[in-house]
Symmetry: D2
């Protein structure tokens, strides 16, 4: 059992995650910002694969062209020196008060245009640094006041902007895959595209749906009390898992961005299981931050903890597959019947007729025990390390 993170594990962090200064609505920052170049070095030491950023995480708003170029040059040098990549990039469309009532969905045409302009520049920056995935998190795309009339218009505008940017990316030859990141609320009262499902549904209305997928985040689905593994499974089922944000969260409260595995070990286990069992080969991105109580040492303990817990759970996934008792319970849980499955799998008049005339022993089906309590108990014991 190797629990030492290595680049092959594809663990990534955002500059904004380990660099989070611990500010919150009720208090001032508790930590100093971290320099991007220093962050690259530290993440490499810890065994990470890559680092992601919003445009302004790397290049401060208002930087001159030469400042920008110097920053990018130094950052690239650091990446090269430490062997890290930039698999994903994104735009900060939420911190500046200009976006206080939305960026792509603002009621003000000037803000929408500025958001497009800023995102084009961020796509350029991301492409320059080799990012292959572009994440859209509409942090201010939402409302507290529905009387403003954006319930339908907001979605139209969001779509127009996404269509525009997908074409822009194509026209520049960037080849980005775009991943929509849903969130139910915070910082807006209600965010548009609140869940992974909403994003999947919205993609079906875009001009080039094949270029769009989702970036599900553990904490975001959990805030709405939804199961993250279930949401992840729907994204995988739809062939739309383009990126993933791992962290943790207590349901029904403010966005906590806790260390991966800090709260919901079972949910974390099934998350790792889906990622490892599926064809997903992308980054395992930890979109989380150290508790506001912590100093810099706490930040690195946090980052190391995210990765180590993932590796522990990955090992438990292997053990789960090799556990004969568990696999036996799963096998007996799934009752196969080739004749019935042939009839049911796809429609034909013959199949429908055959199904219609089949008799079922309903009492036997009602009384059958699927053994799920026992299976769940063994899973818990496996997680607790006593199997």
């Amino acid at each position: 059992m190797t629990l030492t993170p290595q680049p092959l594990h594809k663990f990534t962090f955002g500059l904004w995650t380990v660099g989070n200064p611990g500010r919150d609505p009720f208090g001032e920052p508790t930590r100093k910002p971290l320099e991007p170049v220093y962050t690259v070095q530290k993440l490499a030491e810890l065994g990470a694969y890559g680092v992601n950023f919003h445009d302004n995480d790397l290049v401060p708003a208002g930087a001159s062209a030469s400042e920008r170029d110097r920053i990018v040059r130094e950052f690239k040098a650091a990446l090269a020196e430490h062997g890290l990549v930039v698999p994903m990039a994104t735009t900060n469309l939420f911190a500046d008060p200009v976006f206080k009532d939305g960026a792509f969905t603002s009621a003000d045409a000037r803000v929408r245009a500025y958001a497009l302009q800023k995102t084009m520049a961020a796509l350029d920056l991301g492409a320059e640094l080799g990012a292959e995935t572009y994440v859209f998190w509409g942090g201010r795309e939402g409302a507290e006041v529905d009387a403003g009339g954006k319930l339908l218009e907001g979605l139209e505008r969001f779509r127009d902007c996404l269509n525009f940017l997908a074409e822009y990316s194509g026209s520049q030859g960037y080849g980005f895959r775009f991943a929509l990141e849903p969130k139910p609320n915070e910082p807006r009262g209600d965010l548009y595209l609140p869940t992974v499902g909403s994003a999947l549904g919205f993609i079906a209305t875009l001009d080039q749906p094949e270029r769009f997928g989702v970036n599900p985040e553990f904490a975001h689905e959990t805030m709405a009390g939804l199961s993250f593994p279930h949401a992840l499974a729907q994204a995988l089922d739809a062939g739309k898992l383009f990126h993933v944000d791992l962290n943790d969260q207590k349901p029904g409260r403010f966005d906590q961005d806790l260390r991966f595995g800090a709260e919901n070990l079972k949910g974390a286990f099934f998350t790792v299981k889906l990622l490892e069992d599926s064809e997903y080969s992308g980054p395992r991105h930890f979109d989380a931050h150290a508790l506001r109580t912590e100093d810099e040492a706490g930040v690195w303990a946090f980052a190391a903890g995210c990765m180590k817990t993932y590796l522990i759970l990955k090992e438990k996934v292997r053990q789960f597959h090799e556990d004969a008792e568990i696999q036996g319970l799963i096998a007996s849980y799934k009752v196969q019947d080739e004749r019935l499955e042939t009839m049911s799998r796809s429609f034909s008049k013959e199949n429908a007729e055959a199904l219609r005339s089949t008799s079922f022993d309903l009492d036997a089906l009602r009384q059958r025990g699927p053994g799920l309590e026992q299976l769940d108990q063994l899973t818990v014991e496996l997680l607790l390390g006593v199997r």
Copy 2:
């Protein structure tokens, strides 16, 4: 202001709604079941347009063919006598213990086959009674134990069954439009297709997506703390609002199915506003039930209340549109700029270049007040009847 319900308002109820006997996990029924024929008569008296049912609401499980035919004949006669229609039908795939671990997504091939068989019969029944919309609510399609291995298989099986049934409907010439009804949890720990968005996303993976839409329910989105008007807007935006279930609910708790408008007046107002302002012409279905405390008189007070509150809110929608101060605030909230909008609306190299070279007065945009507090306050005053 007419507050008397009439068939033209398209208010519908399910047999299971007014007929709910008030049983809950902690207590026995408090009311006797209502006869379907009697229910038709009472709903007609109250001004309803139609009545919906699950197969077994009308025809008890295990009824003989001749019993079924007699029941259907008498029910049709009652509909004709009282001028009610059956716009929607559905199948009960949740009450019988045979479905305790799922119907279409059961791990047992026999249960899945039986669920198909039962639904084909229910489609036949619905068609016979003239229903045009068929609702799929997967009440048992979900899990408490993810170790069973259905995270991905469940979705595949669900899809196979929906594809099968859509073809069956076509082959019979029924012409049903199918509406998926999402719900986050209860009776299962986590239901598949938990939100309106999930259902929209899932439809995109079906063989005949054009035949499928959604049946959003106020209470179901609210259980997950999501905004029902926002979900409704996404369904409308996608052209997928095939049916709607109106009721009320406190967030983050058991499924209450409260009287429409009983809890969240603002949410109810924006719901009515979306339905009345949009092209939606289908039934306004109240999928709710009287409180368990009530007797039959309370049931009819509940049903009348649902409709009356809808009509009050519909009148307030009219007033909202005619309120000059409110409309003035909305107009000033939406800042138009033809030049920028032309550049932003659709991509071209020229537009992108023009956008890139535009300068924005960001400070002015940051400082601009959108007037949303005032707009929201006026909306509240309108709701409270003091404008």
Copy 3:
């Protein structure tokens, strides 16, 4: 119906409420801070009764003694000029990173001592400005990590500090009444004393319970999905309603501090009804802030809206009491039986024996309809202004 706020209505605001600059975890401030003296003038113009503050809302941290005295002198002059009072004061024990892991419940003895020192000074300041109520909101008293060992120690330390400060207040002759303000979470993962009930329970363990009551906040109970009117009722029932914080909130999410009545009109109505029907004569304090989207005009619209909605609802309370149909339904809902009530009200062997030998017509009790759907519908119609 007078909807113009006047001092006799006892509406108060905190300096931190109208002065909230619109900063949140994802964005920079959108508004400039307001000067305390200017705030006093504006609140007086709007009809407020008083203004409250945390020590550092008025006197910046680190101010010299002479600066402090000047600030206080000017603030007092403004209060006198505009006829406002300071009914309540409190201490900011959350913004400074020194309190990042708690103030009274910090694991660090130095932080606890400093919190006491700071609170003593704030009590002095509050007394100097005539405040009669002192609110304790333990904004950082909580934890994300229970392994630290504070589950029990935290409560002990909290109690020690409250006992200390109550004695300090007495020794200085201040005569403060102390009101504990509960909140379930945010900014900490879990706050100690999460609900009004928790605070009431904790008071029973203090040395001088009679000096302590609660300051229930609408948004805080609502965050946990609890009914604010129910919590308010328990505080009144216990004789412990020492102060009240009015605002609004969607359940199960980040602390929104919405305009009073902005979200839950029914909850707001029953809140006003309890306050107006009971003996509570204290301030109606709006602990809320304008949406982050707003400019200063939006701030005053917000403040005016809080007060106006309260007055509208107060008028509806009057109407509720005078509505014969509503009062008739309530009267028939409450079934009195003098003989049984005499037996039940207080224990005696005779009463117990009499009760034991009483026969009840259980079927009649089971079938009786209490008329609650109709009563609730009439209440909704009253709220909507159509009665």
Copy 4:
């Protein structure tokens, strides 16, 4: 490490827990009821200590005196034969429609009187079977409609009944300790006494508060998104932990009553830690039930799983105390300062003066890292069995 349950571990179950037939609002029972005598035998085989019941779990409503006596005699014989005790008893005041709008808090004086009569009889039954703790769960004490006027009256009536029954118990020489069991909602929209804190606060208003404590339930606090370990700690701190209900639950949804440890392993760990580290010597009662999917074998797997997981976690508590690295982190987390602690612990004019004149190195306190991320990570690793 012994993971075999034995009576010394004081594990108890209710007849209604293992006997739960799997009925829910959407479906019929999936299991047959279990005979009490058989349940006693099975629980003894599994290593339980005791069995609890509501009056009607043992004696059906309407049983004649001789039937009752026969049932009790046979049940006692089974207890004696299998070595089980009955540590707790309670009354079913929720299943019969007579209680549909409350028992002790009904608006109908006849219902209140009948609830008292039924509870006196249940106290007699509990005493006859040797129960020492009596639990009050007010399953129907709450409301959906606050217009009925019970917000304050409900609490008065609840108090009157509890005072009455405490005196009745004393007068009969029963010596019961009464434990109030809070729950936020379900089956009522809002239950009175929604949280452990509410119950503690209410006890302070009773005539004989010393006879009353609480029966916190893991699932019930969790439904409101509150931390169960925090609530348990407050009960212990107040000396009021008279009983405890162990199970599991996802926050913000219907009452799931999951197997202990099935969902929240960290919460379960800190629960066991508090119980084992404190002076609590009462039963560890599992108020849960097998999933509705299960047959009888699943029921016993469920019951065995509850106990085994408790014992695994108890072993981990021991390991936590013996883990030098963890204990070292805790020790360095807690900064002691004898001089400051002496000043702060209790008020005197001298202490206040000394505190006032103390200088603090605030910058050092702000920068200090408490090491909580590392401590939490080690706790997670301990739980996962890799330490």
